[in-house]
């Protein structure tokens, strides 16, 4: 089997860039009128040539999304386990060279945070950590999952890349989804932003979704950090990665997230700005290319953008998030990963979703489906 590294190596960054910026009006119209879109059509839809067609793209995105996912928005909240980290990522609040107090939740603290989420009605939880391989490693995660499993119907994780055997342990323990973002598919730029720590290994990270897929995890979340490099080219490679994974791990669901660089302690300003207009274009392009992709929007985005995007392609939203370990009750002052932009509470967001004619969904999983030995 060809792995994705081989596929990636066949492309040149510049060649894709040239193709995107050379898209013609006709290419865009052809893509818009097709029912089954290819990666070339995706290129057309993320190109500058497609921007004038944004309204048309949004209308079609709404129809396709409603047909496949209904008028529903799933809600989840992150639970930050730790902000300890041995990586230097120049854009991240948890970066090792950021000399700020570090915290990792113990069992009691974890349960206190979990109960705070439960009282908000959260049933789908995303566990997040930095990368501290000696202390916050697979055994820590397994213990956390065992503690949380009776309380949540869906547990997902967004932690450092792990080995396949470790993913298998997590799968058996009941983890539903694993999110791992490549940050950028530009090898040299990746190196620049991740100069130190295990994360500096581009290929190990690139290979991570394969290990997750082989471990039989139900869902894989992908994305790039929008702002590090040209978002159009990076998004093409993300889509190509998803296309590759879908063929090989056909029993797996895929979700895409759009982290735009947000201010964080000690972080750099983004090199490439992604405007609201272009983020919407990107969301529509993903939906029109892939009807079944789950599209997730976090509280990095502001209230107004989040409200307007509810009926345009989104399937999943985080809400009432704290991005620091202990942020809900235990230690609200702890170092956060990034500044949350939409700070509204869960009830307010649920009501906003209803106001838009959509139904907020707090539970769409049964823990029975997670963790059976395959």
């Amino acid at each position: 089997m060809t792995d994705f590294k081989e596929i990636l190596d066949q492309y040149s960054w510049e060649e894709i860039q040239t193709k995107i910026y050379g898209t013609s009006d006709q290419d865009v119209r052809r893509a818009l009128n097709k029912e089954h879109l290819t990666l070339s059509d995706f290129i057309a839809l993320i190109s500058p040539a497609a921007t004038p067609y944004l309204e048309q793209m949004a209308v079609k995105t709404q129809q396709v999304t409603q047909r496949r996912f209904g008028k529903t928005i799933q809600l989840y909240a992150p639970l930050y386990l730790s902000n300890e980290c041995q990586n230097i990522c120049t854009y991240c609040g948890f970066s090792m060279d950021n000399k700020i107090r570090r915290k990792t939740l113990n069992n009691t603290e974890l349960l206190l945070e979990a109960m705070a989420l439960k009282s908000m009605g959260v049933n789908h939880v995303l566990l997040v950590s930095g990368e501290a391989n000696k202390t916050v490693e697979v055994n820590y995660f397994l213990q956390a999952i065992a503690l949380l499993k009776p309380h949540f119907s869906q547990i997902s994780i967004e932690v450092q890349p792990l080995d396949q055997a470790e993913y298998q342990l997590l799968q058996a323990a009941g983890v539903y989804a694993v999110l791992v973002y490549q940050e950028t598919y530009h090898r040299e730029v990746y190196k620049k932003y991740h100069p130190k720590g295990k994360k500096s290994n581009f290929d190990y990270r690139l290979d991570t979704p394969d290990r997750i897929g082989q471990a039989g995890i139900h869902k894989i979340g992908l994305g790039v950090l929008l702002g590090l490099e040209d978002w159009r080219v990076d998004s093409f490679f993300t889509a190509a990665h998803i296309a590759y994974l879908q063929k090989n791990y056909w029993q797996t669901r895929y979700s895409i997230s759009f982290p735009r660089l947000r201010p964080a302690a000690g972080s750099v300003a983004p090199n490439f700005h992604l405007s609201d207009k272009h983020l919407l274009q990107l969301i529509c392009a993903y939906r029109l290319w892939n009807e079944n992709l789950e599209i997730s929007i976090s509280t990095r985005e502001n209230e107004s953008f989040r409200d307007h995007i509810i009926p345009i392609g989104v399937t999943t939203m985080s809400a009432a998030s704290k991005t620091n370990p202990g942020g809900y009750v235990v230690d609200p002052q702890a170092l956060e990963q990034f500044e949350v932009s939409d700070e509204r509470d869960m009830e307010t967001i649920k009501n906003q979703i209803r106001k838009m004619g959509y139904s907020p969904v707090m539970k769409d999983w049964e823990s029975t489906y997670s963790g059976l030995i395959r």
Binding site: R67, S153, R354
Partner: protein
């Protein structure tokens, strides 16, 4: 019109409804009432058995219509059997809509796991209603395994594409000893009427009603279409021919 018999129950309405995808739960319950449906399906994974104030459970209970739990989300027979057992406990019913679609892209049913789960569930005294591809041979195998009905698809779930599997549905209907419920893909009332005209025993509709601009009216439209289709089937449709039938040029010599 005749009533539909499944296991120990008889149904006046031949329209079953799904409860997912609605933008508003009150709209869902209004649509369910308008459809006249006597059996509505709900995903076990959507029901919160712990939270006392689960909105969906409350709305569904208000409709007073029997719930048919489904195993959507299960990828294997083992997961589905476990889910059915949980559902039996939670909703106090031994009826289950068996959905095993490990392919999350098109939600196409896995025939092998579905057959295995049907065998296991039938032995556990479940009334099994399996969602399957329009595969006539699989239908016979499911019959042998003790299924209560077969639920072949018209087109992929949520696609609204109509009866793309028409030729195979006709074979299934011709051969089946258990009721045939056409599930998935029915996008318009005319699709439902067509399914009933060819002799399907019932249809299950969800997306077409849920995402309509007026779910209430759409539910009513499906109700009428299903009645019309069934009535036409029972009355007997005339044969279709592309030219007028006149005399019998080949055999008329016999009577000359």
């Amino acid at each position: 019109m005749s009533t539909l018999q499944i296991a120990n129950r008889s149904f006046e309405s031949r329209l079953f409804m799904g409860t997912g995808k609605f933008g508003n739960l009150n709209e869902m319950s209004a649509a369910v009432s308008a459809s006249g449906s006597q059996l509505i399906t709900v995903a076990l994974k959507r029901i919160d058995q712990i939270a006392a104030d689960d909105e969906l459970t409350a709305v569904l209970n208000l409709t007073k219509i029997d719930l048919l739990p489904n195993t959507s989300g299960a990828r294997t027979a083992a997961e589905a059997v476990l889910a059915a057992q949980l559902a039996r406990e939670a909703l106090e019913t031994n009826w289950v809509k068996l959905e095993i679609h490990p392919d999350p892209r098109y939600l196409l049913p896995d025939p092998i796991e579905t057959l295995r789960a049907t065998e296991a569930l039938a032995k556990l005294d479940f009334v099994v209603m399996p969602y399957i591809h329009a595969d006539p041979v699989l239908c016979k195998r499911l019959e042998n395994a003790g299924t209560a009905v077969v639920m072949p698809l018209g087109a992929p779930i949520g696609s609204n594409k109509g009866l793309r599997t028409l030729d195979f549905l006709e074979i299934i209907i011709e051969e089946s000893n258990v009721p045939v419920v056409v599930d998935a893909g029915i996008g318009a009332p005319s699709d439902a009427a067509k399914a009933m005209e060819i002799g399907a025993d019932a249809v299950l509709v969800n997306t077409a009603i849920a995402i309509s601009n007026n779910p209430l009216h759409m539910a009513e439209a499906f109700k009428q279409a299903v009645i019309a289709g069934r009535m036409a089937y029972e009355a007997g449709l005339g044969p279709i021919t592309s030219r007028a039938v006149s005399s019998s040029p080949l055999t008329s010599f016999l009577f000359d």
